[in-house]
């Protein structure tokens, strides 16, 4: 039984396979990612979870020798069709990375606007309101509103990560991918990001890769467990953590390996 069956599907992943040269990293993955939900991807290191979300915004193919087969539909459209421009796709599917990576040559304000400026879509008359609204949505506004012209690198790690989230939100995506966004942060900063996820999922579809099962159980509505490139089990987070159907899932979440 799905918890929120009324939420419409965003990503429909069918028979997804991915390779790095000869190395087969994803094997026949099927998954359905819904709107206004947090979908967590868990699994041990090297199980293909990062590769999986990097297929969703076509970042995987940037690595030389990387290959993808199968289909991923976003709102009914196959994003691997030849007429889909990955550059435009990435404006709809934002991504937050493992290590906070604000642009060091830019101020806080410039970092928030960087997506728009990079792509030549910055409208000066609305810039201030874009900065404020993105920073507010990333729960960072109150901390930086007086220091917008300081370098982005001057913030703490957790603030930098929220700045990166603000930067992603400013481009106005509808899906946000997060690749272990808290793994470089302390517990307090992690808690703030997790709180933020709860608010953000009201407006976005969020996919988060995490190595922490506690985090997955705290923040997500659905969870997928990957092992050696296969999606072993996928379903409601409550069920995955209380009554997994696959033996391997149970072993992993009870800490028998990983």
């Amino acid at each position: 039984m799905l918890k929120n069956p009324e939420n419409s599907p965003r990503f429909v992943v069918t028979q997804l396979n991915a390779w790095f040269s000869a190395h087969h990293v994803l094997r026949s993955v099927d998954m359905l990612i819904r709107d206004r939900e947090v979908t967590a991807i868990i699994g041990p290191s090297g199980c293909g979870k990062s590769t999986f979300i990097r297929c969703l915004n076509r970042m995987h193919e940037l690595v030389p020798g990387a290959k993808v087969a199968g289909s991923i539909q976003l709102d009914g459209e196959d994003i691997y069709q030849s007429d889909v421009d990955p550059v435009l796709l990435r404006r709809h599917v934002g991504m937050v990375f493992q290590k906070p990576n604000p642009f060091p040559t830019m101020t806080i304000r410039e970092n928030v606007l960087s997506g728009l400026r990079l792509t030549g879509r910055l409208d000066r008359s609305t810039a201030n309101s874009v900065v404020e609204s993105a920073l507010r949505r990333a729960a960072l506004w109150d901390e930086v509103k007086d220091t917008l012209d300081k370098p982005g690198g001057s913030l703490s790690g957790g603030q930098q990560q929220r700045l990166c989230i603000a930067r992603t939100l400013a481009v106005d995506p509808s899906v946000i991918l997060m690749d272990e966004p808290c793994s470089a942060l302390d517990p307090v900063a992690t808690a703030r990001i997790e709180d933020l996820l709860h608010t953000l999922k009201a407006s976005y579809s969020i996919v988060i890769v995490t190595h922490s099962m506690q985090q997955a159980s705290r923040v997500s509505d659905r969870t997928g467990f990957f092992l050696s490139g296969e999606l072993i089990e996928f379903g409601d987070t409550d069920r995955i953590f209380t009554a997994p159907t696959d033996r391997r899932t149970e072993d992993y979440i009870t800490g028998k390996f990983g």
Partner: protein, 286 residues
């Protein structure tokens, strides 16, 4: 036993530091000796008249104006030609070009080109720019030849600078929906400017001091006019120095020493400009 080992390793460290200091001191002392020697010979000749006069048969009334102006023109032209070309080539090789055998071959070749004697570039310039392109013995032909000479250094320094821009920042830009070009232009290049400027400093210093290729393409040694445009005939400071050094009279040797001092000052000024640009960008990054 233990104490003994520690004593010995400490001695080794002292020895090593001593060697380092010696290898720093020897070239520094030689350099200073040379500078002092040149300064003693030349400093008395440097005055306004020396800087603003044309060459003359009489050493006492000869000056370096055409060489100074020629060198200034050459440097600016060379920088304008070689920097955009070199940076562009490096961007292509580093950011767009496919990795593979051809890329390796090109890389090795560029590294080798940086080591080719400058006379060879002079011969190439003579054939291509002076004769084939019909530029004659002009400033432009000289600047193009010097550009060929410094291009490998510019390309290598720029590639190195591009390579150290972290992958995470490139990915951040691409994930925001930037095209490869937007990523390079707005994220990678600004971060690479300090490294590129270091390459530019090295190349400009080298070009400023070069004599051989300019002699080969036929820069004049006796010039009684100033270059008006890139197509003018010209001379340059190193050529003027070369010319004076080869004279038997002692007074001309003094002139040469004075011109060397001026060349050094020009070189330092050019480097200061590049270093200021570099530091400004480094501050923004740091």
């Amino acid at each position: 036993m233990k104490r003994h080992v520690r004593k010995w390793s400490r001695r080794k460290e002292t020895l090593f530091i001593g060697l380092c200091i010696v290898s720093l001191a020897v070239p520094l002392c030689l350099l200073f000796a040379m500078l002092i020697d040149v300064a003693l010979d030349g400093i008395s000749r440097i005055d306004w008249q020396f800087l603003t006069s044309y060459p003359s048969r009489r050493a006492s009334s000869a000056g370096i104006l055409p060489g100074l102006v020629g060198s200034a023109f050459l440097i600016v032209l060379t920088a304008v030609i070689s920097l955009p070309m070199g940076v562009g080539a490096a961007i292509y090789l580093e950011e767009y070009g496919e990795r593979g055998r051809l890329a390796n071959l090109i890389e090795v070749n560029i590294a080798n080109l940086a080591g080719v004697p400058s006379v060879i570039y002079g011969l190439l310039g003579l054939e291509i720019f002076v004769r084939f392109a019909g530029l004659d013995r002009s400033l432009l032909a000289g600047a193009l030849t010097l550009s060929l000479l410094v291009l490998p250094v510019v390309i290598m320094a720029t590639r190195e600078a591009l390579r150290v821009v972290p992958k995470t920042l490139r990915e951040a830009a691409l994930a925001l929906g930037a095209t490869r070009w937007q990523m390079v232009w707005r994220v990678v290049l600004p971060m690479a400017v300090p490294g590129i400027m270091t390459g530019a400093i090295l190349s400009i210093s080298r070009a400023l001091g070069e004599t051989a290729p300019l002699v080969v393409i036929g820069a004049l040694t006796y010039v009684s006019f100033l270059p008006q445009d890139p197509m003018s005939a010209f001379t340059a400071l190193p050529i003027q120095i070369f010319n004076w050094v080869s004279r038997p009279q002692a007074a001309f040797l003094e002139n040469a020493a004075a011109a060397i001092l001026v060349l050094l000052v020009v070189l330092l000024l050019a480097n200061v400009v590049a270093i200021v640009i570099r530091n400004r960008y480094q501050k923004r990054i740091g």
